[in-house]
Every structure is written in structure tokens, then in C-alpha cells.
């Protein structure tokens, strides 16, 4: 009797699967050539070890690919992704897109930088976009290739603007900052920029900056550490707390907010991504990966693509709910500072006593 039930179950299963296969939306393998004919550009994305729905770096990168493809009016069959499961697969994954005839390949993460450059040097006809990948050789000397654009960000500028905001808005003249891994250049740039920004507008303010001391698997994901650190800042009298470093920073922002301090976020507009702090978040130091990737893809299509390091937009997010509390004088001052940063009049990355050496800042031209 059991056998009969199983057989029925199995036949039903087989039938549905064949049915599903028959009415599935995507074209079958035979349509591959047809696809290629309809694509003026084929774009591939290789994630770092992780998922494209990580609500963070990889997701922003893939969203940028989609945005760029949509801007070009590409069919969804013209762009695809590979999620890397093992860092030993970086090269194989990138090469898969090359072999499938893709014209633009986007890779994300510093760790894939050298592999991307290696594959690029073997395939001069394919364009590569490397996110957070400075175009340097193994000795960290600038070494641009014609077909690789490294999309980087002046995190020091974003950090400087965050620091200027904090320095102008503090009433207690004590501001704090909680940061992720100190050996990651992007994080170091945020911190050094933040410190310089506060000092620039408010030389008398005391600044408490703390990095997470742990290794890479902890320093971006330890919200308890961030929370405790923020609490100690509050006890020291801080009334503005900046956080840059994934979940660690988020923990700090939430605790500082609950204790009545104002907070400043990082990378994305955290008013939108971290609703817990929506009533005390001043602004966020944004690095717009989505726009950066999208613009480079459009450039690849219209022939304006240039190899070497490029820099995506770094800016402050809107003040949202606290807009009415920010005096007009502060707003104009911030715009003035942003202009000076964009012309290079202010150096946001200037080293100070005991400043973090891991910044690898590149000055604005």
C-alpha cells in the first residue's frame, strides 16, 4: 500500500516538474544565440565570498549592475551574476564570464583586486570594473590597465563631512566615533577624515575614536561591542556619535540614540536602512556604490570607459527628521566645506598625531 502511495506521489511529482519545465518563463538553452544577438552589452557580476542579498556591499554592487543595465535598456538576459562560495574560485568565476562572451565584468571587494587585474591582462578586449580595488601592483604602486576601472571612494571626504557636522552640532564639545576594522583602508579613511573634520570646524572639541580590536570576522559584526562603546562615550559626555563599520557601528548608533545623543551613519543613508535611529540621526556619510557602478557601465557602453582608479560620489545624506534642528548657518558651512573638499583645498586625510597609518588615501585632483 505504501508503495502505491509513493508511486502516485512520484508520478505526480514527475508530471508537475515536466509541466513546470515546459511553462517556465526563461528561454531554453537553444535560445542562447538569440540572446546574444539582442544584447549590445553583456554584463557579468562576481560577488565576493557572500551573497548578493547581504543588504550591504555585495547587494549594492549588484544593484549598481542592474541599474546600469536598465539605464542602457538591456534585457534581463544580458546580465548575470556568480556568487563566490570559496575564495579559491575567484579566478574561475571571473573566467566563466570571459568564456561566455561577456563584455563587461564587475567584481567586488579588495580581496579580488589582483585576480581581476590578472584576468584583465589576459583578456584585453573585455572591460573590468573592480569595486574597492585600487589599481596598484603588488608593492602598492599605482599601475593602471586600460581595461580595468577601479571604483574607489574618498571615504576620507565622507568622514570629514560627518566630522564637520558633528563638530558643528555638538553642545557638550565631546564627540565619539565607533569604527570597524582598523586595517581596512576604507574604515581607516572614515576615521581619519572624521577626526580632521571635527578639528577643522571645532578645534576645542574632544574626540573619542574607538576601533574594534578583533579580526575581520568580528570587527564588522559585533553590535554588542559597539553598544558598550557608545555607552561609555555617553558617560564621558558625548552628545554626537558617529558609527562606521557594519553591525558594530549599528549597535553603537542604536545605543547612543536610546541615550539621547545624536548619531551619524555610514555607507548608505541609514535613516532608511536603520529605522531604529530615525529620530536622532543627523545624516550619513554615503558612498554611492550603486551610482558609481551604474555610471561606469554606461561609460563602457558609450566608449568613454577609462582604465585606472576612478572615484564614486561621496556625500552626506539628507538631514530627514532633524532637518529643522540644523541651523541654516551650519548647512551653508557644510556646503562650503564640501566645495573646498572637492577642489582639494582641504586635505581630509592629513595625518595627525598617532593617526591610523592604514588609510592609503589618494588626494583629489
Amino acid at each position: 500500500m505504501h508503495k502505491k502511495i509513493f508511486w502516485k506521489f512520484f508520478i505526480a511529482l514527475a508530471a508537475t516538474s515536466i509541466l513546470l519545465a515546459a511553462c517556465a518563463p526563461a528561454p531554453s538553452a537553444g535560445g542562447a544565440t538569440e540572446e546574444e544577438a539582442g544584447c549590445k552589452l553583456k554584463i557579468g557580476y562576481v560577488s565576493d565570498v557572500g551573497k548578493i542579498n547581504d543588504q550591504s556591499f555585495n547587494q549594492a554592487s549588484w544593484t549598481g549592475v542592474q541599474a546600469g543595465a536598465e539605464a542602457l535598456g538591456l534585457d534581463s538576459s544580458c546580465y548575470s551574476f556568480i556568487e563566490t562560495a570559496d575564495s579559491a574560485d575567484y579566478e574561475t568565476n571571473i573566467n566563466s564570464f570571459v568564456q561566455e562572451g561577456y563584455n563587461v565584468i564587475v567584481t567586488s571587494g579588495f580581496a579580488m583586486g589582483q585576480v581581476t587585474r590578472k584576468v584583465a591582462s589576459e583578456n584585453p578586449d573585455v572591460l573590468f570594473i573592480g569595486i574597492d580595488q585600487q589599481q596598484v601592483n603588488e608593492n602598492f604602486e599605482p599601475d593602471p590597465y586600460d581595461n580595468v576601472a577601479g571604483l574607489n571612494f574618498h571615504e576620507d571626504i565622507g568622514g570629514f563631512l560627518a566630522g564637520a557636522t558633528a563638530g558643528l552640532m555638538t553642545k557638550s564639545n565631546v564627540v565619539g566615533g565607533v569604527f570597524g576594522c582598523q586595517f581596512i583602508p576604507a574604515v581607516a579613511r572614515y576615521e581619519v577624515g572624521y577626526h580632521n573634520g571635527v578639528t577643522y570646524v571645532n578645534p576645542d572639541a574632544s574626540i573619542i575614536d574607538v576601533y574594534h580590536p578583533g579580526s575581520i570576522d568580528q570587527c564588522f559584526s559585533d553590535s554588542a561591542f559597539g553598544s558598550e562603546t557608545a555607552q561609555s562615550f555617553i558617560n564621558e559626555g558625548a552628545d554626537v556619535v558617529y558609527g562606521a563599520g557594519g553591525l558594530t557601528a549599528n549597535g553603537a548608533l542604536i545605543t547612543a540614540c536610546n541615550q539621547g545623543a545624536m548619531v551619524i551613519g555610514t555607507d548608505m543613508d541609514q535613516f532608511l536602512t536603520l529605522p531604529e535611529v530615525k529620530d536622532c540621526i543627523l545624516t550619513s556619510a554615503m558612498k554611492d556604490i550603486v551610482t558609481g557602478v551604474s555610471d561606469l557601465i554606461v561609460a563602457a557602453s558609450d566608449g568613454t570607459f577609462q582604465g585606472g582608479d576612478t572615484y564614486g560620489p561621496s556625500m552626506l545624506a539628507p538631514f530627514h527628521n532633524l532637518d529643522s534642528q540644523v541651523p541654516d548657518g551650519v548647512k551653508t558651512q557644510l556646503i562650503d566645506i564640501a566645495n573646498k573638499l572637492s577642489t582639494g583645498e582641504i586635505d581630509p586625510c592629513a595625518p595627525f598625531q598617532d593617526s591610523n597609518p592604514n588609510t592609503f588615501c589618494i588626494p583629489v585632483k
Partner: protein, 382 residues
């Protein structure tokens, strides 16, 4: 004394397995094959729900695994660690031990190989074997801890190997993390230095990535087959696995065999880790490297009916799925998780083989209980 043991086991145990061999091998092959087929059918539902065409996905999977020479090479590269570590899991199973610590032992082997491979310069014919041995012995030593705890204090090796996994992986994460002793200077990601060229496994075809690790893996399969079925030690291991008390009654030193089985199992896991860092560019250890092979190898061992020949086939299958996954993502836009679901379904149907036997009318082999897989949970050494 020892001679007598040998005589007893030869006459009592060996003939029984020998007669059942031909029959059980046939039906042992039947269950996995039908399990794979059923899993493919069930997984096609998941593929459809993820918004893709199952037929297109499977065609891309096959093309990515066997479509051209480069894909074949990727499949073989993926097969190597699964085969070696799978043999390790199987060896432990044969001895009635469930070694869940393969992941940690594999990490330990990788790190030992990195330390030896970057520690000194030596001619290639010395450096390669020494580095391989470092991987084997470190993995063996690490696994022997769990074996010793089981033999001496009756500590369940399932628990202890899970815990030693955490210990190994955490220590290694620390050692390659910020300010860790093995961390490569001037590097932004946690990674070790690359091992010297004298300790790298040579490529079989220059420039084609396929390294000599495939030969090591095949040799390991042959040696484990010979060890299990052609040596006294193999009989002792299997006897302990079949019935601990009978083994002790027959005069086998059970405690010694348990420790030795774990050590051999861990040694294979360590070898798998060493081969990975010695064979694959950039020849170093970094976070995200090797992750999961230790756990996948348990599935490979079970699917391969814990027999070296079966594991050869099952590791090839899992390697092919891992290799084909990239084209499946790229062409059919199927998330990589589908591969994990597929592997999980295959394993589930193998483990719950009653479903498969009922579905396809496969008779259960006579003389079941070749291996007592549940000994870990109920059995004690006393």
C-alpha cells in the same frame, strides 16, 4: 596471541562480508543512483520556484561540469579535497566512529602545510613530501585527541569533534587575523604568505590548473581500499566498527584501534587541506578558503556507501555539481543555494533509503549491519 586473533577474525568475519559482497554492491549502487534521480526531480521544483527553467538549469550545470576541457579540470579540482576527506570520513565510519571534525582537521592540515611550506627553503623533492606529511600528521594528531578521549574516557566523538572544529577554526582565524602570527604583512585581507614554489604541487598540464593532487587523491583511494580490505589493521578497524564487544572478546586492542582510526581519518582530512593550499593559486590560506569541504565530505562518504570506489564516484558527482554551479548561475540565473539543496536532497534520500527502495522496488540487501553507524550514540567502550 596476535596470530590467534588474526585466525579468528579471518574465519569468522571475513568470509561473511565476502559472500555478501557481490549482492550488496549491486543494490548499494542502485539506491544512490535512484536517490540522485529523485533529488533532481524534486530540486527542479525549487529551481522553478526561484524563477528559472529546470531543464535549462540542469543543461547549464552539466555544461559547467563536463562541457569542455576547462570545465572538466574545474570538476577534477573540486573533486580532489572531497575524495581525500571523504575517504577519511569513511575510514572512521568503518571503525564505528562518526568524525564530524573533518572540517577542523582539514583547516589544521592547511595551516601546517602553510607553516612548513613557508618556513624554509629546500629542494622540491624534499619540500613537497615534508609539507604533505606536515598536513597529514597535524590532522592526525588533532583528530587523535577525540579518539583518545573516546578510548580513555568514553567521551562521545560526535561531541568532541564538533568542539575541536570550533577550537581549530577559531585559533586559525585568530592567527591569520589582525596582528596574528601567520598574517601576511602589508595585506588588507586576512591571509598567510604564499608557500614557496619548492613546496607547490606541480601542474600536470602546464597552465591548466590541474595539479598533482589528483594523483595523490587516487593513490589515497587505492591505499585506503587496500588498508581496509587487505590488511590486519583493516580487519581490526572494521571489526571494532561492526561490534565493539565482539572485537574486544576476540582480543583486539579496541582502545588502540579507536585512536588509530581517528588519527588515520584526521590524517586524510589534513592531507586534503594540505593539497588544497599546495595545489591552488595563490597557494596560501585565507578566510573563505576551503570552507565546507569538511562537511561535504561526510555527505560524499555516505553517498559513496563508505567504500573507496563509491566515494570516487560520489566525490566526482559533488565536485561536478560544485564546478557546474557557476554556469548554472550564469546561464540559468539559478541561485547557488540550489546546489546545496540538491546535495541535501540526495543525501536525505540515501539516508532514508527506505523511501527509495519503496519507490523503485529495490530489495534491501541481506546481511545488513555491515557497519554500525549508530554505535557512536549508544555504544560505549566499556
Amino acid at each position: 596471541m596476535r596470530l590467534e586473533v588474526f585466525r579468528i577474525t579471518e574465519s569468522e568475519i571475513a568470509p561473511r562480508t565476502a559472500t555478501g559482497k557481490a549482492v550488496s554492491h549491486l543494490s548499494n549502487l542502485g539506491v544512490p543512483v535512484f536517490a540522485i534521480f529523485t533529488a533532481l526531480v524534486v530540486a527542479s521544483l525549487a529551481i522553478f520556484l526561484s524563477g528559472s527553467n529546470p531543464i535549462e538549469a540542469y543543461l547549464a550545470l552539466a555544461a559547467g561540469a563536463f562541457g569542455d576541457l576547462d570545465s572538466l579540470i574545474t570538476t577534477m579540482i573540486k573533486t580532489i579535497p572531497l575524495l581525500i576527506a571523504g575517504l577519511g570520513v569513511a575510514l572512521a565510519f568503518r571503525g564505528g566512529l562518526f568524525n564530524i571534525g573533518v572540517e577542523g582537521q582539514l583547516f589544521v592540515g592547511s595551516i601546517a602545510a602553510v607553516i612548513v611550506g613557508t618556513g624554509f627553503h629546500a629542494p622540491i623533492y624534499i619540500h613537497i613530501p615534508v609539507t604533505l606529511l606536515a598536513g597529514i600528521f597535524s590532522g592526525a594528531l588533532w583528530a587523535a585527541i577525540a579518539g583518545f578521549l573516546k578510548a580513555k574516557y568514553g567521551a562521545n566523538e560526535v561531541i568532541t569533534t564538533i568542539m575541536t572544529n570550533y577550537i581549530a577554526i577559531r585559533i586559525i582565524t585568530w592567527s591569520i587575523g589582525a596582528y596574528g602570527p601567520l598574517r601576511k604583512a602589508a595585506s588588507v585581507v586576512p591571509e598567510t604568505n604564499s608557500i614557496f614554489e619548492s613546496a607547490r604541487l606541480p601542474e600536470l598540464i602546464p597552465g591548466a590548473r590541474l595539479h598533482a593532487g589528483i594523483l595523490i587523491a587516487l593513490l589515497a583511494a587505492l591505499l585506503i581500499f587496500l588498508l581496509l580490505f587487505r590488511t590486519t589493521l583493516g580487519i581490526e578497524i572494521r571489526t571494532v566498527g561492526m561490534n565493539l564487544h565482539a572485537a574486544r572478546y576476540a582480543g583486539i586492542n579496541v582502545n588502540r584501534t579507536i585512536v588509530l582510526t581517528m588519527a588515520l581519518s584526521g590524517g586524510l582530512a589534513g592531507l586534503a587541506g594540505a593539497v588544497q593550499v599546495m595545489g591552488l593559486s595563490p597557494y596560501n590560506f585565507t578566510t573563505g578558503f576551503n570552507v565546507g569541504y569538511g562537511f561535504d565530505s561526510i555527505a560524499v562518504a555516505v553517498l559513496g556507501s563508505i567504500h573507496p570506489l563509491g566515494i570516487l564516484l560520489s566525490s566526482l558527482l559533488f565536485g561536478a555539481m560544485d564546478a557546474g554551479a557557476r554556469l548554472m548561475q550564469l546561464r540559468a540565473r539559478v541561485p547557488i543555494e540550489i546546489i546545496t539543496i540538491l546535495q541535501g536532497l540526495i543525501l536525505m534520500f540515501v539516508a532514508a533509503n527506505q523511501i527509495i527502495r519503496s519507490l523503485y522496488h529495490i530489495r534491501a540487501p541481506k546481511g545488513q549491519g555491515e557497519v554500525n553507524l549508530t554505535q557512536s550514540w549508544g555504544g560505549s567502550t566499556d
